[in-house]
């Protein structure tokens, strides 16, 4: 009997210990991610997802948020508004704490009513449409809207390069962004005295032929070609432009400033200008470390989308960590003031918008180089 009791005690202890361990496994904090990760604009979504994923993996490696691990639930909106709405609803049903994304403005305009209705906070890494600026809603973002980049580009080319005739090609597949950008550029360029001589558009797809569009564009003898589209389309357009005109200045909106642009554009993208928030020449340790870790993890450079994805995830997780019990997340995010981004302090105003320095970048020697 005594021996049996002696055996029972360790068994009981082991059972208690196992139950304790089971009890100690804490429920993860679920964060959703929505972005276009397939198709021609996938580089933006993939970069944003990779950046957010890296931030989450690093946070979990350091103990998660208040001891709880973070789980990133990733959904592909396929750059399709219906899919974007569907996956956003899915994430809301899964009771995620917050959604990071989407990566393009069109998708953002499609899902914002849904998240506002569900009071689900959404923090976008790269959406820059002005249509969502100054709204007290549940949509927040870590990049300023196009009213910052487009005028900057216009000013640079008019004042520094002395260009007066701009021809624009934009993608109607993400018109919320491209039209917003175009409007900002046109307004600034024309106010300065320049002229937008022609505006051509296309809808991104595998069978699109760019040479007729480019040929038509160049017919107006522009001294500046402005491309408002994704990196894939922008690089192919550049290839077509350069086939016909080797001297015309090309400027691309920040959407196209991913690493794929240079890879696909080859020599044709040399000398192309961008107005963007990313300072490629930054030597800050934080940025350099980020580059190192990102390359190690994904085998490629992050680009602006990877960095923005990382920053958006950082803002979300810092706010979740600092949030007091019972405080709505939106209030917690906005109350925190400044967040430490990779290259800058991210300060959100009461509408969840932010401001940033805009850099003029050009491709030189197969690399992005910040020139202003």
């Amino acid at each position: 009997m005594f021996h049996r009791a002696r055996m029972q005690v360790p068994l009981l202890l082991i059972s208690c210990f196992v139950l304790l361990l089971i009890g100690c496994e804490r429920e993860p904090i679920r964060i959703g991610f929505v972005g276009g990760m397939s198709g021609r604009v996938a580089d933006l979504g993939v970069g944003g997802r990779n950046g957010a994923l890296l931030a989450v993996e690093e946070r979990n490696a350091h103990g998660g948020i208040n001891g709880r691990p973070v789980e990133l639930i990733i959904r592909d909106d396929e750059q399709n508004t219906e899919t974007a709405g569907k996956v956003t609803r899915e994430l809301i049903q899964q009771k995620v704490e917050v959604i990071i994304g989407p990566m393009t403005s069109s998708m953002a305009l499609a899902v914002v009513p849904i998240i506002n209705k569900a009071r689900m906070v959404m923090v976008s890494p790269t959406v820059t449409t002005t249509e969502l600026s100054g709204l007290d809603d549940y949509f927040l973002r870590v990049l300023p809207d196009t009213s910052t980049y487009a005028p900057k580009s216009a000013h640079f080319h008019f004042e520094r390069s002395g260009l007066r005739r701009a021809a624009v090609i934009y993608d109607t597949g993400n018109s919320s962004y491209t039209v917003s950008w175009l409007t900002g550029f046109r307004k600034a360029f024309e106010r300065l005295g320049g002229r937008v001589v022609t505006v051509n558009s296309f809808k991104s797809g595998e069978s699109v032929g760019f040479s007729p569009i480019v040929r038509d564009l160049l017919r107006h003898k522009p001294d500046l070609v402005v491309l408002v589209c994704s990196a894939v389309d922008a690089s192919l357009l550049c290839q077509q432009v350069r086939k016909l005109d080797r001297r015309v200045t090309i400027s691309v909106s920040e959407w196209g400033s991913t690493e794929r642009f240079i890879e696909l554009g080859g020599a044709a993208v040399e000398g192309v200008f961008f107005a963007q928030f990313l300072d490629h020449g930054s030597m800050s340790p934080r940025y350099r470390n980020f580059l190192t870790f990102y390359r190690k993890r994904f085998g490629q450079d992050p680009g602006f989308s990877g960095l923005a994805g990382y920053d958006a995830a950082t803002v979300v997780m810092d706010a979740l960590a600092a949030r007091k019990k019972g405080t709505p997340l939106k209030e917690a995010i906005l109350a925190a003031g400044a967040y430490e981004g990779i290259q800058r302090k991210i300060v959100l105003n009461r509408f969840g918008d932010t401001e940033s320095t805009t850099y003029i970048t050009m491709v030189r020697g197969g690399r992005f180089v910040t020139i202003e």
Partner: protein, 813 residues
């Protein structure tokens, strides 16, 4: 110890017999079979990965060969330049996996391209596009060798693709394969249901998966350790890991021709399905065996238990004294033997019980004869027995006491205390003594000393407690009285105007305040002193010897004077009165000291004064005697000058009278106290003197003296002497006229009434007849008469012819 039934005991043991092999089998399976199964599964996974790698390479090698052949044709310009597009279209059509075939110049620009039918309109647009920075072209241009690219977004196809690139002349020949197609191929060779299969490029990005989902979304799987390690090393890897929230076992193997990695990952439950199935069958069989064994064991337990119960029932019958009859017979030899053995044991036990009962009776009698209450109880506090004295004390019979606890036989407060004491004694075996008091069962209030001790069983464990009660009620009362007495003594002693001390052994144990004042020492000093240390050095020995002897009960004077020395060195005298005393329960000595220093001093002064007085008195008497002797001598001289006989006789009489008085004073200053003289001696001296004085006829007259020694003071001695003087002188002068012989008798004695009788008689002629001495003019007899009166005495005269007798009686004082 918990008692369990035989059935349960046997059931548990039998179950253990079944369970232990079961557990052993399980452990064997876990530690031996499981690693084997794991190894087999991993091997299966690895082989599967190798097969898939091989199939993928087979699938792609045709495409690469097509590109190689095209490159050769193109570089050797075997086709005319205007026929190149057609040639390329033919080659593209011949290899369905390829989505495009492209040739570049030395700068990486497209010089010729073949596209699928639907994209043919773009051929012109694509021509001239710079592919120099695409992964495939860059590798070949860098190495000069053919290579499969990593996944990339094709500027040609506009979708994710991989490409086989090979040098072609100065340029590069490039054949793209859609990743979607590759994924379809993968799905065709390994459906998703069983496991995941991934083809990963050199960066860990998914080139193909069965669903195409990870491919389309450009997932990079370097977050998996197996992928990270696999990219760093060409060795095949197999291990378990988590994927999409599931535990999987996966193998990663590198496809050598492609330089890609193939990852095959199966959920644990699928990977180990066969092993789990086998284990399940094995476990089920074991469980059934376990159940059968347990059932059989239960049946056997029941059978055995029934037989034992019969034996137990019979044993109970014997135990209760019933005539149980024969032991139940059993066909099983062992049970039969057990029954016989039990019968034998029962007989032996009866005999032993009888013997023990006798012994128990004796012991009980012995206990009952003990005049003090005795009981004994078990370790649980239940009374096992007691003696008669205990019954009387408790007011209960033995039957009422035995089997009960102290809580059931004693009042609540007493029971609690005894129980606590019992617990302490059980915890610390040995002996225990304590005092308790209260109202006992006999209705009287008792103060009792409990003396308890533990007793032990054969295993030397505490079996119980035996206790004896000693009634000390009377002793307590005596002690109380003694305490009261001591208290009174202290009050009395503390306030007494006499020094009182108590000593035990060599030391004082009590000194009263007066003793402190007497000796000048503080109380604490005195209590630290030996009881003889205050005595004068000359007396210390005596004080110590008497004090010690007194304590030992020896007979020593109880009162004596002693010299002592105060703390300040002053010496004094005291009267010590000592005796024995019982003080605070111990024998000792008590002494009172009366300071007689002042009285002693007064006595000394008195003695000196007395001595001085004695000297003075002696001197006075001496001087009076001398003066009287001078007077006598003067009278004698005077008589010598007087010739008249009568006058001379008168002077002589006066001289004798003076001499008589001088003799008294002489006797007085020679006496001890100067107040009294021995009358007998005085009479003798006086008579001799008178005879010498009237010596003329002294030889004819004899003196017979019968005077008893007796003291007499001067006031009486002088009259008495004068009386004797007058009467003896008268007799000497007148009683024996002529030469008449005769005798003078003087007798003097006293009687018990204190009267002194003085007889002066002679055998002379007697007094003249009719003579009344009160009327005669003789001064001598008148004087006698006066002196008798002075002595408040009486005088009778018996005068006959043959003599005269004067009988004088007077009080002695």
């Amino acid at each position: 110890m918990k008692i369990r039934s035989l059935r349960r005991f046997l059931a548990i043991r039998s179950a253990l017999i079944a369970v232990v092999p079961f557990l052993f089998s399980a452990m064997l399976g876990w530690f031996w079979l499981r690693p084997q199964v794991v190894a087999d599964t991993e091997e299966h996974q690895r082989q599967l990965a190798e097969v898939i790698a091989s199939q993928t390479e087979d699938y792609l090698v045709a495409s690469s060969q097509t590109i190689e052949r095209t490159a050769v044709v193109f570089s050797k310009k075997l086709v005319r330049s205007d026929g190149v597009p057609e040639f390329l279209d033919t080659m593209l059509a011949s290899e369905e996996n390829l989505t495009s075939i492209t040739f570049t110049d030395a700068h990486g620009r497209i010089t010729a391209i073949a596209l699928p039918r639907e994209k043919k309109p773009l051929r012109q647009e694509m021509t001239g596009i710079d592919l120099s920075l695409t992964d495939a072209v860059r590798q070949v241009r860098a190495s000069g060798k053919p290579a499969w690219s990593d996944a990339y977004l094709s500027p040609v196809g506009g979708a994710l693709a991989v490409a086989y690139a090979t040098p072609a002349g100065e340029g590069v020949a490039l054949g793209e394969i859609s990743l979607a197609k590759l994924s379809s191929f993968l799905k065709s060779i390994e459906p998703r249901e069983k496991q995941w299969v991934f083809i990963l490029d050199r960066r860990g990005q998914v080139i193909a998966d069965q669903e195409g989902r990870y491919t389309a979304r450009q997932y990079n799987l370097t977050n998996l350790e197996i992928v990270k390690d696999g990219l760093a090393s060409a060795r095949p890897l197999t291990r378990g890991f988590s994927f999409n929230g599931k535990r999987v076992v996966g193998s990663l193997i590198r496809a050598p021709l492609l330089d890609w990695n193939i990852l095959v990952a199966s959920p644990i439950e699928i990977a180990y399905r066969s092993a789990l199935t086998t284990t399940g069958i094995f476990a089920t069989a074991l469980c059934i065996a376990l159940l059968l064994a347990s059932g059989l064991a239960l049946f056997m337990s029941h059978s055995l238990a029934t037989r034992f119960e019969k034996l137990v029932s019979h044993a109970r019958g014997i135990e209760s004294g019933e005539e149980a009859g024969e032991w139940p017979s059993d066909p099983v030899r062992e049970f039969k033997l057990l029954g016989e053995a039990l019968q034998s044991m029962a007989d032996t036990l009866r005999e032993r019980e009888k013997s023990q009962n006798t012994q128990v009776y004796f012991l009980q009698q012995l206990m009952d004869s003990i005049p003090i209450p005795v009981y004994y109880k078990d370790a649980g506090g239940r009374y096992l027995g007691c003696n008669g004295a205990f019954e009387i004390l408790m007011g209960m019979t033995r039957k009422e006491i035995v089997g009960k606890t102290v809580h059931e036989v004693a009042s609540k407060d007493r029971a609690g205390r005894h129980h606590e004491a019992d617990l302490v004694l059980i915890r610390h075996p040995g002996e225990q003594t304590y005092e308790a008091s209260g109202m006992y069962g006999d209705g009287a209030y008792h103060t009792v000393i409990f003396k308890k001790a533990t007793f032990f069983d054969a295993d030397d464990r505490v079996a119980g407690i035996v206790g004896a009660l000693m009634d000390i009620t009377e002793r307590k009362r005596a002690e109380e009285k003694l305490r009261e007495s001591e208290q009174k003594f202290r009050v009395l002693a503390d306030t007494a105007p006499t020094a009182i001390v108590v000593f035990q052994g060599e030391y004082f144990v009590y000194v009263n305040p007066f003793a402190v004042r007497l000796f000048g020492y503080s109380k604490s000093e005195l209590l630290g002193m030996k009881f003889w240390e205050w005595a004068h050095p000359e007396c210390r020995g005596m004080a110590m010897e008497r004090g010690m002897a007194r304590q030992q009960g020896d007979s020593v004077p109880s009162q004596y004077e002693l010299r002592f020395v105060k703390k300040n060195g002053e010496e004094g005298w005291m009267i010590v009165s000592a005796g024995r005393i019982e003080f605070e329960g111990r024998p000792g000595g008590i002494a009172t000291f009366v300071d007689i220093t002042e009285a002693k001093r007064a006595e000394e002064i008195l003695k000196i004064a007395l001595a001085e007085k004695i000297v003075l008195l002696k001197e006075v008497h001496h001087r009076v005697k001398n003066n009287l002797q001078i007077i006598s001598s003067l009278l004698d001289l005077q008589a010598d000058s007087i010739h008249d006989e009568r006058s001379r006789s008168n002077l002589l009489e006066s001289q004798n009278r003076v001499r008589t008085m001088a003799l008294v004073h002489e006797r007085l200053y020679m006496s001890k106290d100067f107040t009294t003289i021995d009358l007998g001696e005085y009479i003798r001296d006086l008579a001799q003197y008178l005879f010498q004085s009237y010596a003329s006829n002294g030889s004819q007259i004899s003196l017979r003296l019968d005077a008893k020694e007796m003291s007499m003071d001067i006031d009486r001695a002088i009259p008495c002497g004068l009386i004797i003087n007058e009467l003896v002188s008268n007799a000497l002068k007148h009683a024996f006229p002529g030469q008449r012989h005769g005798e003078i008798v003087i007798r003097c004695n006293d009687d018990e009434r204190g009267r002194i009788t003085l007889v002066v008689a002679d055998t002379g002629v007697g007094l003249p007849a009719g003579l009344d001495f009160r009327d005669i003019p003789s001064m001598g007899l008148q004087l006698v008469d006066l002196l008798v009166k002075q002595l408040r005495g009486s005088m009778n005269i018996d005068s006959r012819q043959n003599g005269t007798e004067f009988l004088i009686q007077f009080p002695a004082c």
